[in-house]
């Protein structure tokens, strides 16, 4: 019986889709059978982040409305063993799917997959309720900004109300230089406010944009990047391993040590 994990945030643009894509690829690279579900109906993006936009035949709404079987709609990512994407419908809206239908779909898929990752839309309306309906575990993505942390707090409350307990936090786009200057909330500040467990910290990294440009998640495209390493650590923590957190202090990080060793300065 596989685990259904929803990746959510409340606020848009904090990195939910990028996170879902990287964790999906990372889990597949470790030999797990993974289904990625894009629950953002009407604004699908997981397909382009994964570079699979040209292979869509059927979508999530086709599956729940019975026009095809889930197997037909799941796109196999040929670059990895055992990674599949169920794209969202682009021409429908969130009301095209009900929480009950999502729950049934997740249950069906969990019989065949080790992990089902649901990319949740921004907001707290029906799209959110659909995305969390079948989940057994939640990851909340936030950035070290007032607006994103505030929305994360709201989401934590809503997840609790839905009895999806013990969500874990991913802090995305951390800038160690700004933290050092006192111009960005640090990890402890955010954990103190939200009072939930931390599962990972992703440093702000331009390589994410480059990898998205190419449609290949950074965890596979750019293995030595700081963000790629951070995502690999989260993947291992998702699987239950205890992995020490990276110290992003400029001089101490593995990435910078590597750069120094190769004579690239820093």
């Amino acid at each position: 019986m596989g685990e259904v994990i929803v990746v959510t945030s409340g606020k848009g643009g904090v990195g939910k889709t990028t996170t879902a894509a990287n964790l999906g690829v990372g889990l597949a690279l470790l030999g797990k059978k993974v289904a990625l579900i894009d629950a953002d109906i009407g604004l699908r993006n997981l397909d382009v982040v994964m570079g699979l936009e040209n292979r869509i035949v059927y979508d999530l709404v086709d599956v729940v409305e019975g026009r095809c079987r889930s197997k037909q709609a799941l796109i196999r990512d040929k670059r990895y063993d055992n990674l599949f994407l169920l794209p969202a419908a682009q021409t429908r809206d969130k009301s095209a799917v009900t929480p009950e239908q999502m729950k049934a779909l997740c249950t069906e898929l969990s019989e065949e997959f080790d992990f089902i990752l649901v990319d949740c839309p921004a907001g707290i309306e029906q799209g959110f309720r659909n995305a969390i309906a079948g989940a057994t575990r939640a990851l909340i993505v936030t950035t070290p900004e007032v607006s994103a942390v505030r929305d994360a707090d709201r989401i934590i409350g809503l997840l609790e109300a839905a009895e999806l307990n013990s969500p874990q936090l991913i802090i995305n786009r951390l800038r160690p230089d700004m933290v050092k200057r006192g111009d960005m909330m640090d990890i402890d500040d955010i954990l103190e406010i939200l009072a939930i467990g931390l599962i990972g910290v992703i440093p702000d990294d331009e390589r994410i944009i480059i990898s998205t440009n190419r449609g290949e998640p950074v965890i596979a495209l750019d293995k030595d990047s700081a963000s790629g390493q951070a995502y690999r650590n989260i993947v291992r923590r998702v699987m239950g391993e205890s992995v020490p957190f990276i110290d992003f202090d400029e001089n101490k990080s593995v990435f910078n040590r590597l750069k120094k060793m190769m004579g690239l300065g820093g």
Binding site: V146, V149, D153, V179, G182, D183, D189, I193
Partner: protein, 87 residues
């Protein structure tokens, strides 16, 4: 105390991250206190259930509301009593 916090304490300046944290703390007190009418209705029903053991409550005239104060929230329940039971 770091050098930065020491310097800030002399110059009276505050790091922008501390401003952010303080503002968040305040806004979350308000956010967390904004509860739905359904939620308050549930609290009201439970309160009536408990208090009814001791006195008969006039449900029509019972109100449960949430106030927001500057830095905290208050739950106010006004339960109209019909009759006190002899326990």
């Amino acid at each position: 105390m770091s050098l930065r916090t020491f310097l800030n304490s002399i110059t009276g300046k505050q790091d922008s991250k501390d401003v952010a944290k303080e503002r968040l703390r305040l806004v979350l007190v308000h956010d967390r206190a904004s509860v739905s009418p359904e939620f308050l209705e549930k609290i009201k029903e439970d309160l009536i259930k408990v208090i009814s053991k001791y006195m008969e409550i006039d449900e029509e005239n019972t109100k449960v509301i949430m106030h927001r104060m500057d830095e905290s929230a208050v739950l106010e329940a006004n339960l109209a009593i019909k009759e006190i039971r002899r326990v």
